[in-house]
């Protein structure tokens, strides 16, 4: 690997926490932000809980036109990007605009707008030949989610590569990795990379209901997301955005930027097995982890924290536990592993970027966030999942992983950069 890639800006919009500091407080305190759905009446659905954000776009400074123009996932993303840009202290106004890139991950794009606009043009599903007279002038932008990456590009007048990465539930980790590759290739000096999804809409609920992937634990919403717990029965849908500013370590040092951490290694693999199913052995995820560790030149024993995918489906939790054992060997039993989805739910394409930020904050604070709601561990999941309470723990190397529909498995190694300060 030629260029070391530094993270110099962070921004977060998460359930229960807008802003990076609030996000860390929530994680460190082990608070959960899952609740009974309020966006619409969830009564007709099997799963009626979600991790929603109390987000008022007007309060966040969006004009009425911007609110009209942007789907919620774009609004969340822009707010996270604003924070990351400010945090980075980078002088975007004087940067070469062709050397500024934007990579946004999203699994389902403007799904909320598409759902509500469909209802209108079809008159609630009454006509197949939907009526264009009722169509929003924004429908095309909603059809293709790259339009929303444009919103982030406009923030900083980026004119380099701008794209959306949409690899389902690994989008958030893959987008940041793609951004890091743009830096390593020397195609940009500054990359805004992150992910956003706002999928809490009836159509998303209905399709996850149909495959029984989301939890029906509707009577105790705050305890509904229970990764690695024996009583878990599905994930809790969430929403959110996290955005990072990336640059080469050399570039960051030249401008005296604060380096929050480094992206040291990444790999992805596909299971080539099933669109939603996972084999129990975690074989392909293990391969991704091993490859990412090799790229980072990090041994399994030096991983200080594993930020798990931990969605809270039985299938996932066992799959990834097996993957950790296979890739980390005996070190798997000594390293703390936790899932922040226990607190903020599973925001599909966004969660990978949120987990990267959580991993960086864990290194900053030397605290490992807990797996909330973990009371009765699944006997088949026998690692140290940091139940319920955060733990002080010197953390310089983090492994974060993602797993998603399509069979995609991704692994990223983040380092604090403290080990070789000079």
């Amino acid at each position: 690997m030629s260029q070391r890639v530094a993270v110099t800006g962070l921004g977060v919009v998460a359930p229960g926490a807008i802003g990076t500091e609030n996000f860390w407080s929530l994680l460190a305190e082990g608070r959960t932000a899952t609740r009974r759905i309020t966006f619409f009446d969830p009564a007709p659905f099997r799963s009626q809980v979600a991790a929603e954000i109390d987000f008022d776009p007007a309060e966040m400074g969006f004009s009425p036109r911007e609110i009209r123009r942007m789907d919620r996932f774009a609004q969340l993303c822009v707010v996270a990007a604003r924070e990351a840009v400010a945090d980075s202290g980078a002088d975007f106004a004087n940067a070469d605009p062709y050397r500024v890139a934007v990579v946004i991950g999203s699994a389902v794009g403007a799904t909320m707008s598409l759902d509500s606009e469909y209802r209108i043009v079809s008159d609630s599903g009454r006509s197949w030949l939907v009526d264009h007279d009722y169509g929003s002038p924004r429908l095309y932008e909603q059809l293709v989610p790259s339009s929303m990456a444009a919103e982030v590009a406009w923030l900083v007048d980026a004119q380099g590569p701008v794209t959306v990465v949409s690899t389902g539930c690994t989008s958030g980790i893959d987008a940041v990795a793609y951004g890091a590759e743009i830096i390593r290739d020397g195609r940009a000096d500054l990359v805004i990379a992150g992910a956003s999804d706002a999928p809490i809409s009836p159509i998303t609920l209905a399709c996850f209901d149909a495959i029984k992937a989301t939890t029906p634990r509707n009577d105790t919403p705050a305890e509904a997301s229970r990764p690695f717990d024996n009583t878990r029965n599905g994930f809790v849908l969430g929403e959110g955005a996290a955005v990072l500013v990336l640059e080469s370590v050399a570039h960051a040092r030249r401008r005296d930027a604060t380096i929050h951490g480094e992206i040291a290694g990444f790999a992805s693999a596909a299971n080539a097995y099933h669109m939603t199913g996972l084999r129990k052995d975690g074989y392909e995820m293990a391969h991704a982890i091993t490859t990412a560790l090799a790229e980072a030149r990090v041994s399994p024993a030096s991983v200080d924290y594993v930020n798990a995918h931990g969605s809270g489906t039985k299938q996932n939790d066992r799959h990834e536990t097996a993957a950790f054992k296979k890739s980390l060997g005996s070190a798997a039993y000594n390293v703390p592993v936790s899932s922040i989805k226990s607190m903020i739910g599973h925001s599909l394409g966004a969660i990978g970027s949120l987990e990267i930020v959580a991993s960086i904050l864990a290194m900053k604070h030397n605290v490992v966030p807990p797996t909330a709601n973990l009371q009765h561990p699944d006997p088949e999941c026998d690692l140290d999942y940091v139940p319920r309470t955060a733990r002080e723990h010197r953390t310089d190397v983090v492994l974060t992983v993602g797993s998603g529909f399509g069979g995609f498995q991704s692994a990223m190694v983040l380092t604090s950069g403290r080990h070789d300060e000079r």
Partner: protein, 81 residues
Amino acid sequence: MPAQQVTVDDLRQVLAEVAGAPNPVDASIGADAALEDLGYDSIAVLAAVAKIERDYGVKVDEEGLPTAKRLSDLVQLIKSA
């Protein structure tokens, strides 16, 4: 028709409709044919069960689904709904 009268052939038909034509297997295996051998995965089963639930107005035991490995198992589960 009540769900108690659902036959293996009915189930085959629903599966083919919602999840596509099965892999060719020895027809003589009949009701004992493994869903997996027919090419039907867990989502295919969920799709078929959802249709049967809608058509017959029944609720099939979710917990039992993963244990239904053969056509006949699934028919049993549906009949006891």
